[in-house]
Symmetry: C2
Subunit: 408 residues, 2 copies
Amino acid sequence: MQYIVQKFGGTSVGTIERIDNVAKIINSEVNNSKKVIAIVSAMSGETNRLEELVKNTSPIYDGREYDVIVSTGENVTAGLLALKLQNLGVPARSWVSWQIPITTTDMHSNARILDIDSKNINKKFDEGMKVAVVAGFQGVSNEKRITTLGRGGSDTSAVALAAVFGAERCDIFTDVEGIFTTDPRIVNGAKKLDRIAYEEMLELSSLGAKVLHTRSVELAMRYNVQLQVLSSFKEKKGTIVCREDEMLESRIISGIACSKDEAKITLVGVRDKPGVAAAIFGPLSESGINVDMIIQNVSENETTDITFSCPQSEVIRAEKAIKAASGKKQISYKNYIIDTHVAKVSIVGIGMRSHTGIAKKMFEALATENINILVISTSEIKISILLEQKYMELAVQILHDAFELAKL
Amino acid sequence: MQYIVQKFGGTSVGTIERIDNVAKIINSEVNNSKKVIAIVSAMSGETNRLEELVKNTSPIYDGREYDVIVSTGENVTAGLLALKLQNLGVPARSWVSWQIPITTTDMHSNARILDIDSKNINKKFDEGMKVAVVAGFQGVSNEKRITTLGRGGSDTSAVALAAVFGAERCDIFTDVEGIFTTDPRIVNGAKKLDRIAYEEMLELSSLGAKVLHTRSVELAMRYNVQLQVLSSFKEKKGTIVCREDEMLESRIISGIACSKDEAKITLVGVRDKPGVAAAIFGPLSESGINVDMIIQNVSENETTDITFSCPQSEVIRAEKAIKAASGKKQISYKNYIIDTHVAKVSIVGIGMRSHTGIAKKMFEALATENINILVISTSEIKISILLEQKYMELAVQILHDAFELAKL
């Protein structure tokens, strides 16, 4: 008998009625003689409510206590879904992480899964259980403390369980119908993709597409877990995330991602000499700043400007780190400029590897509308640009047209 | 260094501000160089909210899933209080039941504590932890499933921890100032008791005084844990629950309890022969009905009437059990009468053992106001009567005066 892993996000289990619907989706797999491992998120709004409680309780942040508190939302959904399934006559029970156990690192609130033991769950399958309802997003450290995997971490719980159990399929149920060429709220003609390669999905998730937790895609790629992203509200095929060689059609660009959670910081008048970049980005990295794009102007005299981008939420910390480091000789600078009115737009596609002229086509399309590019960064399968925030939607539309994504 | 156990009920931790207040109460014990074990309930309203979710999810009741869901409220409070304590500079951490562990029976939603391991908590005390914040109300079964101890069960968690750690004191913080001679909402002159004996408290809890979980008093008595019931909102001595020989003053009656959660069921025309009571109360007991008072009328011919009382919430089940059993010859009856407009009033005092005439005094006092007594039951230290519900408050007032409890 085959295992199926199905993950249901917060909106999919947002009300008792929706949990009922989820139970029916699972039941149809049970009727196909599958052993189902269902991973659930907290009911929508619950994690935010719990985070708010934490925030209002103390300015001191202790990830260990945060995890104890915030992980309770998933426990509640797991219990409720198990009850709904029992109500349909399906032998089901809830599993919280320490009961399996799912062992993680002790990096609280952002832990990584180290190991999943399949023994306890399999024993219950052998005894007649048909569905294991697993509370997502959480684990337990070697210190026997509760951990969480970061917001969206239930996707990662699902993929890891699919890998360990060798599941036939890993369905990620959410409130959208699949992965689109771009955000349909921005581009009317955005098209749902039938398939997308792991590498592309990984870039899109990292670049602001919120459908899948980035680490879940990494994990799926590493263990070759075929994912399907689909809606729990409509009976419709979703998007399959798979190996490049399992793609049916070839295309150059698969999707366009965009994000307003960007800030641009420029250090003006930095001394231009070897080691200066390390001197700047060392302290930033130590402060946990996710520096994304970096450019250094051509030096005209002894000094230069260095510009980098990071998430808006990290600007205050970044500023602090820069100021603290400025005392040291090597990274003296005249002043710094912070611009939070920027956005990032990225085009992603594995076809870039074998096609040239993509960047040119991108820049030309933007130039026709006089959109100024502030920073550029590229990888093998993506090109990202930073631009003024007010042009973000326009840029996405132009690029969606230019690469004819509506025709995919 | 001595251990202190402090338990904080739902209203005491009902808001972030109140949790702050609780942290300060605990901190003053830490400043006295005590090791504190703090047991917390869910924030007021939270357990009801979770129970409501369970009720709305499924008509099928599975205590195992109920416990997974409902126990989360205590986990949240434990984490929040640990954060508040850290904020005051107190090294504190939360403990959920499986981390300690607190092992219980597998009677889900009404489990009993089998064992508490002090090793893990003590190890952390040795490493510098000053406060162990323990999620109350819950445990873990030998099957490694989460259990709960029944509503009010955090009191029992506290007493059990106090027993295991040999705590110097076990303070039960609540929203009232202590144990009163009777409900102050009914009798203006109700007086707070300085001390009360375990046996008296046990009777009062069983009889409807909601201040302490009945099992917590049993446990305190068995392990000789001195309890103090006091308010978390006022800095005032509470009521000490202790051994009879630790009572400073002697008195005959300590308190009057009353409860409207009573129903009276009369089986009319029951065949009067040996074994008939067993035949009736056997099936009721198997259905989990808590039969309280029982009277059997003197038989005038071959049949008799049997009357018993039980909590109102159990009437439907009791009726079902009676009907199901009526097919069997031995408990044939003509008909049955259910009366839910009754109440129970009880006087309790260890002095009854050595004083006579208490019952006479009680009945005479009620007779002067023409209050009719429906059923009587007694134990060594209490006399309970069932009466028409509308007279309950009046009866309590009369008895409070008759036994001069305001002068205690």
